[in-house]
Amino acid sequence: MSNNNVKINVNHITRVEGHGNITIDVSNGELKECKLHVVEAPRFFEAMLKGRHYNDVGLIVCRICGICSAGHMLASLKASEDAFGITISDQERKLRMLLNCGEFFESHVLHVYFLAVPDFVGAKSVLPLVNTHKDTVIQALKLKKLGHDIGNIIGGRLIHSISMNVKAVSKVPTKKELEEIISRLKDAKKEIAIGANILKTLKIPDFERETEYISLYKPGEYTFLEGSIFSSDSGETSYKNYRETTNEYLVDHSTAKRAKHKRNSYMVGALARFNNNNQWLSDDAKQMAHDLGLKAPCYNPYMITVAQFVELVHMADDSIKTAEELLNMNLEVEDRTFPLKAVTGVGAIEVPRGILFHEYSYNDKGHLEKANCIIPTGQNLENIENDMRKLTPTILDKTKEEITLMLEMLVRAYDPCISCSTHLLDVKFINA
């Protein structure tokens, strides 16, 4: 039997980063309202950056988000380096790949095991699983800690890196530390393989909505830190043209910004990366995708969680290789000086939740005059709502609790990081 009248209000969705609410209103079988509200307090980071020296900019913006701290730091360094015309060394590039790997482990493991999986096994959180799935919980904690520990070795502490700077790091890892990263990543691969057995048993909801998928793109590489912007609708464009991709825009009934490109919404994140770049995954990651039933192109947003898991395998392979290369190099603290001039630059990188853009303008003293940060979750919000609009009418035969859970799971699948909301989005539509 179908529910003709359903009202759902989820205040402060749990197991997401930051504060968000869901509102659904179905009257006489018609979807009247379907909203994902962002209720996080605004931070005003771009204003806080004004006047700050380039040395401080990275350490301020990484504090936008505890989970994506390294991502914001790396995007920030890239934007500053793009502005000042700095090319980083091979050593620096490799160290940043490792730092990014640490963040992906910490973030994806947290999301897959702690935030997403409990829904599938009917638990309210990971806590009850300590009794029923103790080994898995211990494994997950180890994998997550590995992420933080890599952050600690490369960046100097768990989050909010100390040693990352424009042009070069202020401290290089020792051989012993690199060996530790390699051996723990090798162990991690075994643990991921065991974790995959749990993912195989999860009943992923059967829901599809094809959309535009946007990610970084660098032929030959499943890229995270370099490349151009790629859209599944319109192909490749320079990262410098990011404003033409994100198109922050206004609508009549809301004065806040949204993002759209070729359609009225697009998706960024693990599934978008997988759809655009899967041919360049490591062999083991390809095998993992195959084993978990993830095939490109995949239009099911609930599969984002699976795509993240596949990325963990790729990240481990990629980082083991990178760390081994670093072991064979003579690492040293490099010179960090460069000439100052008044300039503007853009940094685009892939962070766990998708493509992230920072753009800065500096004066000739190296002080920031204007900043713009466009975060993945902001780019995804409109797409999440479009999914909710398509999904809700098809599940009205379920109980209100089941509908709520399906919607919460959908929002969680995107792994939204609302704390990151440098630009709040207040999305609203009626008569869907």
Partner: protein, 251 residues
């Protein structure tokens, strides 16, 4: 003795200190869960509770509309602990207090400057009574465990009142001033293990001032090592914006 119920709450912040609080080995975490019951932790669990003994509060208060929620938490909790610099000393959020609200709103939301409420960023102790602080941006995980353990045992939280320099010397680091780097270590509360000067950086003050800092001397030293006073203010502003008395050029 029943296990004390612990609840985590977050206001304006990056939520990174919550993550660091749980950056424990499985053994450490299970040990912790053996002495406390986590009854609310929105970032990690869906369980919610109206009853708890210890409230751990992360983040600054940057909207007046958040005050009733904080007051309710204070009323319910026997002990209220501030987690991280945003809640202990306002931290990075205080940077926005140097600009007028109008300017901030026009800079970030030029199309709708008044859409989002914001007020002066405040630390938790500017609004309600605080029983213990765990400073840092982010916190030191081991210090978190120590403070919670001490409080559960009815002891003093025991966070250092001496400066970062003490820990830095114990690690036998060369003073970064010798390398031409300006560091706030002499006036900042220890407990971090002096990790920033150790790792090629310098102390920028994320744990806040020691209880009775000699700021005149700090400014004098920084200036002696060729830092102009406006840059000294800039450095103080980064994390110590709450302590307006230390800023000379900017009020």
């Amino acid at each position: 003795m029943p296990k004390p119920k612990v609840a985590f709450f977050d206001f304006t912040c990056c939520e990174g200190c919550q993550l660091c609080a749980l950056d424990l080995t499985a053994e450490q975490l299970l040990d912790l869960l053996a002495v406390i019951d986590i009854v609310e932790f929105r970032e990690a669990i869906s369980e919610k509770s109206d009853s708890f003994d210890i409230a751990i509060v992360e983040g600054s208060i940057t909207r007046d509309s958040d005050i009733p929620r904080l007051e309710k938490i204070r009323k319910t909790a026997n002990l209220l602990i501030c987690l991280g610099s945003c809640s202990c000393i306002v931290g990075i959020n205080a940077l926005k207090n140097f600009q007028k609200t109008e300017e901030l709103q026009n800079e970030v939301y030029p199309d709708a400057p008044h859409r989002y409420e914001t007020s002066v960023a405040r630390a938790v102790d500017e609004i309600v009574k605080v029983d213990a602080i765990i400073p840092g941006c982010p916190i030191n995980t081991l210090e978190f465990v120590k403070v919670v353990k001490n409080l559960v045992l009815g002891k003093d939280p025991d966070i250092p009142t001496y400066p970062v320099c003490i820990e830095c010397k114990k690690k036998e680091n060369i003073c970064v001033y010798e390398k031409g780097i300006h560091c706030l270590g002499p006036v900042i509360r220890a407990g971090c293990g002096a990790i920033c000067p150790e790792k090629g950086g310098y102390c920028f003050g994320c744990r806040g001032l020691v209880p009775d800092p000699n700021l005149d001397s700090m400014r004098e030293i920084m200036n002696k090592y060729n830092m102009p006073y406006d840059q000294i203010d800039d450095r103080f502003k980064l994390f110590l914006g709450r302590n307006k008395e230390i800023l000379q050029d900017v009020q």
